[in-house]
């Protein structure tokens, strides 16, 4: 379990990124932090692996304050997927994936073999293993990023807009892939995005953030869709958007779901 206890972060220079943020992320769950640019999402993630130190409050993992942990060891124990991949350009795909195991002194040969298995797990062909990141597409790089985060089999995954830089179709694929992996592995995931649809699709729980990491609403995707807490959330999740406003029409004895533009989008099972 990850606990944020009224965590604040003011950067040198006075920028307030996060103000008094509290949240519990239960083990084996996916919690998605969703908010617009600058709402403090990345900062929140970075305070879990000590890439940023809180200026107030504490972050606890399984009851232990991360401030008391060795930063390097802590980071190796947490899988981290970055927005732009963050792969090392001078290392092959396999070596990138094997990074943390090798840092933890797993023999390189064995780490590479495990890395090749992970390639398959994230839906990539093994033949890509010897390429350099610049020789991959954006979507493939993101998959490698996910594989690298999984390589040391961490309990916790931090994912910072991992699919933000790929086109919508690939993004859907990657989301499905992640959901499948998570169903298998049951990691504790904190996932950051500014894409509401992604949040609703992936989160067991969704946390909608305003500026300064202030929580506007938290709940299951269904709860948030059913009852947006206020106009900000309603607006943010696009509750009034045509594709969210479904009605049912009875046609030829079947119930057809129709969106706000009148376009039929599916049939209700009886």
């Amino acid at each position: 379990m990850i606990e944020f206890e009224s965590v604040s972060k003011t950067y040198p220079g006075g920028t307030v990124a996060v103000r008094e943020f509290s949240l519990q992320v239960p083990s084996h769950r996916t919690v998605v932090l969703v908010g617009s640019s600058g709402s403090g999402k990345s900062t929140l993630l970075q305070m879990v692996n000590r890439m940023a130190e809180p200026t107030g409050g504490r972050v606890l993992i399984d009851g232990d304050d991360v401030a008391g942990r060795d930063a390097v060891a802590l980071r190796r124990s947490i899988g981290y997927v970055l927005q732009h991949g963050g792969l090392l350009p001078h290392r092959t795909v396999l070596d990138n994936i094997a990074t943390v195991p090798v840092l933890n002194r797993t023999p390189r040969r064995r780490a590479r073999i495990q890395a090749a298995e992970l390639l398959e797990r994230v839906g990539l062909d093994e033949s890509l293993g010897t390429r350099y990141p610049s020789q991959l597409s954006g979507g493939q790089q993101q998959r490698v990023g996910v594989a690298r985060a999984l390589a040391a089999d961490p309990n916790i995954l931090l994912m910072d807009e991992p699919f933000g830089a790929v086109d919508p179709i690939v993004r859907r694929e990657l989301q499905a892939e992640l959901a499948r992996i998570q169903a298998d592995l049951g990691k504790t995931i904190v996932f950051v995005t500014h894409d509401v649809d992604e949040a609703l699709r992936l989160g067991d729980e969704v946390v909608v953030l305003r500026r300064h990491g202030v929580i506007a609403q938290r709940g299951t995707p269904a709860q948030i869709l059913a009852a947006p807490a206020d106009d900000f959330v309603r607006d943010f999740i696009g509750a009034d958007r045509d594709e969210r406003r479904l009605t049912v029409e009875r046609i030829d004895g079947r119930d057809i779901a129709v969106d706000g533009t009148g376009r039929p989008i599916g049939v209700l099972d009886s």
């Binding site: 970075q46 692996n49 890439m51 390097v72 060891a73 980071r75 190796r76 981290y80 970055l82 732009h84 991949g85 963050g86 792969l87 090392l88 350009p89 001078h90 290392r91 990074t99 943390v100 840092l103 350099y132 610049s134 020789q135 690298r148 985060a149």
Partner: protein, 222 residues
């Protein structure tokens, strides 16, 4: 060709001496310039000062430098150590700024990502900064190598043998061919070293080689 026909063993021997003076100087320049370049990146204020001071050393004229060095370091005047030290001073002066640029060329995001996944700060230097700096660093080392090989000839001024001895000897004795051989041999040594550096570069940075298959110096023509 008569002079060369008789004296080629001497030329070979001098080529050896030439290499023994220039190669250590280039290596030492690299070893000294790397930490200075890295410092200039980490602490722009202190580093900028050190960088400026180091670059200025290139302005010291050769003769006074060859005389100061034995005094400061306690080497005999006519020793290879004196020449190597002088060449290292010039080489370092030439290289520091490129070294700083080389570390500056490393993407800060890549560095942060490496830290975030669990490299130690020192590990980031060895596993990320240094390898990623290689392509830019190498362009500087190539300049230093060529410059050092031609500068070695100044050793002949204080009587330390190198291919430069052919120049001084040839001038004094009026043997044009000897001078020519000295010039051509020096250029050849420079070219060979440069070629070796290019090979070293692509061995050290295969990822960069695959991206831009041809080193720039060979020109854009195919």
């Amino acid at each position: 060709m008569t002079w060369l026909a008789l004296s080629w063993p001497y030329v070979l021997e001098l080529t050896g001496e030439h290499l023994l003076l220039s190669v250590p100087a280039v290596l030492l320049s690299v070893l000294i310039a790397i930490p200075i370049g890295q410092l200039a990146n980490r602490r722009p204020t202190v580093g900028g000062f050190v960088l400026g001071a180091a670059s200025l050393m290139y302005a010291i004229p050769a003769l006074p430098l060859l005389i100061i060095i034995p005094v400061v370091f306690g080497f005999p005047l006519r020793s290879p150590a004196t020449v190597i030290t002088a060449l290292t001073v010039y080489g370092t002066a030439l290289l520091v700024r490129t070294a700083a640029d080389a570390f500056g060329s490393v993407d800060a995001e890549v560095r942060a990502a490496a830290l975030a996944v669990g490299h130690s700060p020192r590990g980031v230097f060895w596993h990320v900064d240094l390898p990623l700096a290689v392509p830019v660093l190498l362009s500087g080392v190539r300049v230093v190598a060529v410059s050092t090989v031609s500068l070695v000839t100044i050793g002949a001024l204080i009587g330390v043998p190198s291919l430069g001895s052919l120049l001084t000897d040839g001038f004094q004795r009026g043997i044009t061919e000897e001078v020519m051989v000295g010039v051509v041999a020096t250029i050849l040594v420079a070219l060979v070293l440069d070629g070796l550096l290019i090979l070293t570069g692509s061995a050290l940075a295969p990822w960069a080689r695959r991206r831009s298959p041809r080193p720039k110096i060979l020109g854009a023509t195919r």
